[in-house]
Symmetry: C2
Subunit: 711 residues, 2 copies
């Protein structure tokens, strides 16, 4: 075990060194003109002010949740007659608060790097496309590495402290269940981070656009618009802080789920089955570091997206190679009937997972790319007005759910079968196969996260060059990076949904294991969630409904918060003379402040809804019903997230397509119609959709933590 632990902590150390190197590289870059720095400082201040206030709110909510968890856990375990009720609840509480803290830290790092990299990427554009690309990607890579290394560190350390290092079989087997709280803490913070950030970013965007572009007739990113800084701040708090926390908890939840499953296979793999997910993650970090360093474009005409995709391919390939050895070394063992585990089948699961991540990127690309049929269809239908634009966009979004669902299904099915084949007759062997596939899919997550943070950095870089009136040749570079960043943001969302689906399937089996443990059934028995029973059907029914209700409240929250912005911008246009002719600066800070307050206020209701409903279902209708709730929430949540993300992405690019000159170009009737579609899509793809990823994982970890309370 020691050698594997050295490996895990060694990789964490390497990550830290690489992070330091990358951060130094980024911070040593030129910060551009005074004008640029002034704008960048506005953004930085706004973002920091938001995150400070948001974290204060989240901290209060987390402490409330902490007491609830410890208390409920104690009560639940006590009523089950557990003698170690106090110890279990305290362990879970500590894990929760650690997870919450690390998740928040991940979000903070993501945002800090983004607001410091954007101006350097903008300034770096002077030296050409490659230079700017390097700055933006390396800034993003810091986030990617920090998030995954932190998640690995947290889970590994808690596992060790909670008994993993004891060498005692019983303690080792108990440890994974005790760190479930870590995952819950991470999802809890991620939910509010993503919701608050998502509401902020779109409220500012919609508000700025509606009054600025539509009413006052000034272009996007125009410094005369009082909400323009809030809009730029939004990209950071939504995409960086939000997605950082989201993927942090994805990796944490998936690790924990797989470790709990490893416990079920303890007779075969011993502690290796539990440690395998952590080792796999460590190798994934190494592969991603290599991948990130290979990205470069030759000259200014080269396609940055192609370079990023190449890096992704290299990372995947490297993972495929490295994981072969990990599987071979860790996942061999002897079955009770004397035959050995066929690790090649298990390696097939890795392959299935990595394949799925690839397919997801391809499908998302198809549905949201500017030169493919779906986006072209939407652009086409904009010619007959906003209504047909919306109708086509909605139907494209709905259609885009089909292929991902089919491929997730195939992946789960294949991995399950392979797991079964590798260990014929062993209970949970199929599920462990899907766990391995999930690890395969998430092995590239560091790279994906770097690519994702790259998006808002380039977006902001574009905004800064635009607002500072930088020369044309610089703006061409930042515009190209910005377009590329839009694509990476869409792709990583697709990836996040796919991995959420797999991770939840894992956590669901962990839930079943917990239920068996509570009912004192052997782990290799089967606990059925029979949807034919009315209370189970009802659990599932309510689970699907919560997805719709949550989306509704999230979307509405944006609308309401945007209203505050609209009123403030109108007020400033009316009261502050000289904004329009540029002689007076608008009051950016007050806009930032208003969106901050609005977003934080509006994130509470949907958050509460998600936290309480599954617990109420579990308490009123029982464990089986809560299991159905979890499963159907996942099903509906994944499909809804795909619909919202892809629909939103497609509308966005349909607008871009028209702006590039199709169907009359900018300011044509078609363009106006496409702006409507884009505005509708904004809360879809940047608020409700990404929050749904978090929701489905939160529900899984939540039910795991509260299962002792359920009837």
């Amino acid at each position: 075990m020691l050698s594997y632990l050295c490996l895990i902590y060694g990789v964490i150390l390497i990550s830290i060194l690489v992070i330091i190197y990358l951060a130094k590289y980024t911070f040593s870059q030129d910060k551009g003109t005074d004008k640029m720095q002034e704008i960048s400082n506005f953004i930085k201040e706004g973002a920091m002010a938001f995150i400070k206030r948001q974290y204060k709110t989240i901290a209060i909510l987390s402490i409330l949740a902490l007491f609830l968890i410890v208390f409920c856990n104690y009560l639940g375990n006590l009523s089950k007659g557990s003698s170690s009720a106090i110890s279990i609840s305290i362990h879970t509480g500590i894990a929760f608060i650690t997870g919450a803290f690390c998740s928040a830290l991940s979000g903070y790092i993501g945002m800090y790097m983004a607001v410091n990299s954007n101006i350097r990427a903008a300034a770096g554009a002077k030296k050409g496309l490659n230079h700017a690309l390097q700055i933006a990607l390396k800034g993003g890579a810091v986030t990617g590495l920090a998030v995954t290394a932190l998640s690995l560190f947290g889970v590994a350390s808690l596992f060790l402290v909670y008994g993993g290092i004891s060498g005692n079989d019983t303690l080792i087997k108990e440890a994974p269940s005790l760190i479930v709280g870590f995952g819950f803490g991470a999802s809890f913070v991620a939910l509010f981070a993503q919701l608050g950030g998502g509401i902020y970013t779109k409220a500012a965007d919609v508000g700025a656009d509606l009054v600025g572009k539509v009413e006052a007739g000034i272009p996007e990113d125009d410094p005369r618009n009082p909400a323009v800084i809030a809009d730029l701040v939004g990209d950071n708090v939504g995409d960086c802080a939000g997605r950082g926390a989201d993927l942090f908890e994805s990796t944490a939840a998936e690790n924990i789920g797989a470790m709990i499953l490893g416990v079920a296979l303890y007779p075969i793999f011993g502690w290796k089955g539990i440690l395998f997910p952590l080792v796999a993650r460590a190798f994934g970090i190494i592969a991603s570091i290599v991948g990130i360093f290979t990205v470069k474009v030759k000259d200014d005409k080269d396609d940055p997206m192609k370079a990023l995709k190449k890096g992704f391919f290299i990372t995947s390939l490297l993972n495929l190679i490295l994981l072969f050895f990990v599987v071979k070394n860790m996942l061999s063992g002897t079955l009770s009937n004397g035959s050995t585990v066929n690790y090649l089948y298990l390696y097939g699961c890795v392959f299935a997972g990595i394949f799925l991540s690839y397919v997801f990127v391809l499908i998302t690309d198809y549905y949201t790319s500017i030169n493919r049929k779906p986006v072209k269809d939407i652009a086409n239908s904009s010619q007959t007005g906003a209504a047909t634009n919306i109708i086509t966009g909605l139907s494209v979004g709905m259609e885009s759910t089909a292929l991902p669902v089919i491929f997730i299904s195939i992946c789960i099915f294949v991995a399950y079968k392979l797991g079964d084949l590798a260990m014929p007759g062993v209970a949970n062997s199929g599920l462990y196969g899907t766990a391995i596939a999930t690890m395969g899919m998430l092995s590239t997550c560091t790279y994906i996260l770097a690519m994702d943070t790259f998006g808002p950095i380039t977006d902001n870089a574009g905004g800064i060059t635009e607002m500072s009136g930088a020369p044309e040749e610089i703006r061409v570079v930042t515009d190209r990076l910005d377009a590329c960043g839009n694509t990476t943001k869409a792709l990583t969302k697709g990836y996040a949904v796919g991995s959420a689906a797999l991770a939840t399937f894992l956590l669901f089996s962990a839930y079943l294991d917990e239920v068996k443990r509570i009912l004192d059934k052997p782990l290799d028995s089967w606990f059925a969630i029979d949807i034919g029973k009315p209370e189970v059907f009802i659990g599932g029914f309510i689970g699907a409904m919560v997805v719709f209700l949550f989306s509704s409240t999230a979307i509405r929250a944006v609308g309401r918060a945007a209203q505050y912005v609209i009123l403030e911008v109108r007020r400033q246009f009316n009261e502050i003379k000289g904004i329009m002719d540029g002689s007076t600066k608008p009051d950016y800070a007050s806009c930032v402040d208003i969106v901050t307050k609005g977003a934080l206020k509006e994130m509470i209701l949907p958050g509460i809804l998600v936290v309480f409903t599954p617990v109420i279902v579990g308490i009123l209708l029982g464990k089986e019903s809560a299991g159905a709730f979890l499963m159907i929430t996942t099903i509906a949540g994944v499909i809804m997230a795909l619909f919202l993300n892809n629909g939103g992405g497609a509308w966005d690019n349909a607008k871009k397509l028209i702006e590039l000159g199709e169907h009359g170009g900018k300011n044509s009737e078609a363009h106006k119609a496409s702006v409507v579609g884009d505005t509708v899509g904004d809360p879809f793809k940047d608020t409700a959709g990404p929050s749904l990823h978090v929701l489905i994982k939160l529900v899984s970890t939540l039910t795991l933590v509260f299962v002792t309370l359920f009837k």
Copy 2:
């Protein structure tokens, strides 16, 4: 048994007599001016031309399906070693074609009555609101009665012919399963009728509006618009023919499902348990007839909606009384342990069902009424443009799914518990409780259907008065009826979704019974659909996805068919001189023809999707997986239908609210924005939403018919 049969056929006879009376009443009314008759004839011809061609297409599809059913059924039963494979498959085939025929006939009657009542209602408006109301409602009542009586006649007669009359226990118990094909035939035709009609009506509507209102700037229902007749035809083929077939199959499917469950309780209730649903339906018809005759308004200032709601209340109350005696007489028996069945608990289930139908009407009313918060919110948000109108509308639609789901859940739970309490320890007793609740809910369906058909009749009456340039006082009357008709259409949609959810829950248990029969398990054993198994999870996952994909294709179909209309209208405006100054008539027939062709072409793809996917899932992944598919399709389908119907209804009325003078009234910016929302909502509420009701029932009957083929 004989006395009950006399009762059933007696009620059918009474229905026929009342139908003749009502039809005579309607046809004896004044047909108005020549101008009115000319327009009405256009509508009549268009509607008949559509339905003729549509039925030809459906007939071909049905015959193909018939061969497939007989063949697959034969194969499936043969492989199970059944000696009566030929007999079973032929019985099912005959039932299918009978169901298909009756469903088509229901649609035809609905449409025939509508196109003949509309002009008489328009002409009757001269004599005041009450007179017009009576004509429209009585015309609608013919449809309501014809549909339910036909369904009752079909199911009862097939049951008798297939062994019900034999007096032989075994034959009586086998009969209900053999008439499943009737339900499938009905849903099969209903799906295409609703899809084709739904696509037609909205393609014509959107097409007429986009070119007429938006491009040419002429008002709605203006005779200069070449698509105006197609638009009016659409209301008849979509709402009348489509909804007629839809509710025909709801009642048929629910009857069959309850009868199959009755077989499971044969040891307790004997044939009475099987016949109970038919007797309950017969009394429901009587109650509805009384209800319909009580509707009247005192003077022109009276609210017609209040009168209709009063009629609904009377019908419900009467049902509540009548069903008490039915339950008391038919559902008593002795359990194997000697105790008697507590029929009061079973009567509680009736109450739950009728209560649910009431709650559904209230909730739908809240979300779509012009003077409630949701619609006001949408109207408000129209002030900041189309985008905010759409965002608010979508989120209202999503939110509106919450309460119905909660109340369906409560109803299922309560009815299940009451069933259990009535017959403690008896297998399937709980399910029979939900069956009784479903019958309670559907007991008012004749009245609901009359109210529903009332909608398109008044809508057309409004159109005819508008186009014929009738005097102001007549138009005021028809406008009021039209507004009232919009509300009844929305309410009946809510009712249809709710009853579909209950009916499917019933059919699901029938499915489980069939599976047990095939596996040679006793009917009182339990067959679990365990969602924790990967193939079952996958079945459910694909089931939810199909709902999104189907909605997407249905919505897209409208868009595509509307394009044909737009091009044709533009062509006529360009090529036919004198349309705009009124000197030449546009070529209405060619528009009607083009929409007809377009709608029929576009209905094939979504239809095929729904028919084949569950069969493929069943064949590839097995019976349990198909069961999950069925359940999750129901869950997702009900929620999606609520979202689409209520969202669409709310947008529609938000526009109406603004047209009544709010936020600047007609032609204001807010009005333009609200028109966009209304247009988006059209395919939601009139194509995809209603088709989803049919879809969920079709999937249930389909899996029942093909279950022998499943792995």
